[in-house]
């Protein structure tokens, strides 16, 4: 008998800011919908080991999206994208997800994101708290620094760089097999990292705004890897002081790659959060 996992992939048409996109997403499970946003330059494959875990998907419905221009979400047909420099903006991300929620008929889903996705989780909680019952921001912070990004877009810098960097965005004790999967996924990336990092470095900034988040309308949970060098535990602790009612947990031994570098360990941090969300909404 064939071994087939209960993950299903589909394309959905979304019109965002006047352009029609065929957006690929995968889903698994039943119950409270949880939208999963990948990191910069990545795709929904980062959530693969979560979507295939039957314990996790028993009570929750995971929806892992490939942003346009990422993974299986091809660039839109109506755009001559090869003539433009790709740039991801906060307004696009928000409009995309509001449209996705509408088209899929999701009732106040949970939004979970890692790194760039973690930034978006907080931006959504701030600006659209009534659309989501909770956000889970993995490896997030108030804002990021502003390094030069041109190096990462140079034609001499290939995906060899991405695969090696990805290895060290995992904690040193994360199992090698998962670390190597993280590098494999990073190697597949089309040249969108610099464009994604435009949002990450230039448009996400909660300075002076984080305290305006209303966790009674949208609960805020934060998880940060102990070893994450880009957004440290201390960076997140500074953030939670400003978000009244938010909850934080340090993921021991883990780093920037979050759910992908050690799925069994990530699960131990994720499940209590999901169960708390479920309890509050029953």
């Amino acid at each position: 008998m064939a071994r087939i996992e209960p993950i299903e992939g589909r394309y959905i048409y979304l019109t965002v800011q006047g352009i029609e996109y065929r957006v690929y997403y995968e889903e698994s499970g039943k119950g409270i919908p949880i939208i999963c946003q990948h990191g910069g330059g990545g795709d929904g494959l980062e959530w693969n080991r979560i979507l295939m875990d039957c314990d996790i998907t028993l009570k929750y419905r995971f929806i892992a999206v490939d942003l346009p221009y990422h993974g299986k979400s091809l660039p839109p047909e109506s755009v001559q994208w090869w003539k433009e420099e790709y740039k991801l903006t906060k307004s696009f991300l928000m409009d995309l997800y509001l449209e996705l929620i509408r088209e899929l008929g999701l009732e106040r889903p949970v939004f979970m994101g890692n790194a760039m996705g973690g930034f978006l989780a907080l931006d959504l909680a701030l600006e659209h708290p009534d659309q989501f019952r909770a956000v889970i921001a993995v490896n997030s912070a108030l804002r990021a620094g502003k390094p030069t990004l041109d190096t990462f877009n140079h034609p001499d810098v290939t995906n060899d760089y991405r695969r090696s960097n990805a290895m060290y965005f995992c904690g040193p004790t994360s199992p090698e097999k998962y670390r190597r999967e993280v590098t494999w996924c990073a190697m597949q990336s089309p040249s969108v990292t610099k464009g994604d990092l435009y949002y990450y470095f230039n448009e996400h900034d909660l300075t002076g705004k984080a305290d305006k988040m209303d966790t009674s309308r949208c609960a805020v949970y934060l998880l940060t890897g102990e070893y994450n060098p880009t957004k440290s535990v201390e960076d997140t602790q500074m953030l939670i002081k400003q978000i009244k009612g938010s909850k934080f947990n340090e993921m021991k031994g883990m780093s920037h790659a979050g759910m992908a570098e050690n799925p069994p360990l990530f699960k131990t941090y994720l499940m209590p959060i999901l169960d708390e969300i479920a309890k509050q909404h029953n």
């Binding site: 060899d160 090696s164 102990e226 880009t230």
Partner: protein, 130 residues
């Protein structure tokens, strides 16, 4: 802790270990660069020629040219070389973000060959702890 890869007496042993490593062979393919690894004030030049490490030179290397350099204080390298390094010393990129290591020179080349460099340093860690 003495950093073993800058000891001239270990140069040939480390060089052979690098060239025998299957992942390093792939990572370093076509690479022809001189890479400076600076430990405190000690310069160690690793010479790559067409993907092979031909020399590791840490004696009298003060005037040797290099294409790019990875620099750190001695105690930073000692932490990096531990079997399970502490956070912010476990990887060069993260270490640079946190100010524990510096990348200088032709940074485009460095990032082009980042896989070779990081695999090399991982092998240095393995040999440090053998």
């Amino acid at each position: 802790m003495a950093v073993r890869f800058i000891d001239p007496q270990n140069a040939d042993f480390f060089r052979n270990a690098l060239n025998a490593d299957p992942e390093f062979k792939i990572a370093a393919r076509y690479m022809t660069k001189d890479v400076c690894i600076e430990v405190g004030i000690t310069k160690c030049i690793v010479k790559f020629r067409d993907g092979i490490v031909t020399q590791i030179k840490s004696e009298n290397a003060f005037a040797d040219p290099w294409d790019f350099a990875v620099r750190g204080a001695e105690d930073a390298w000692e932490k990096f070389l531990q079997p399970i390094p502490p956070r912010f010393y476990d990887g060069i990129f993260g270490g640079m973000v946190r100010g524990n290591f510096r990348l200088e020179g032709d940074t485009i080349s460095a990032f082009s060959h980042f896989w070779a460099v990081t695999r090399m340093l991982d092998i240095f860690r393995e040999l440090q702890n053998k």
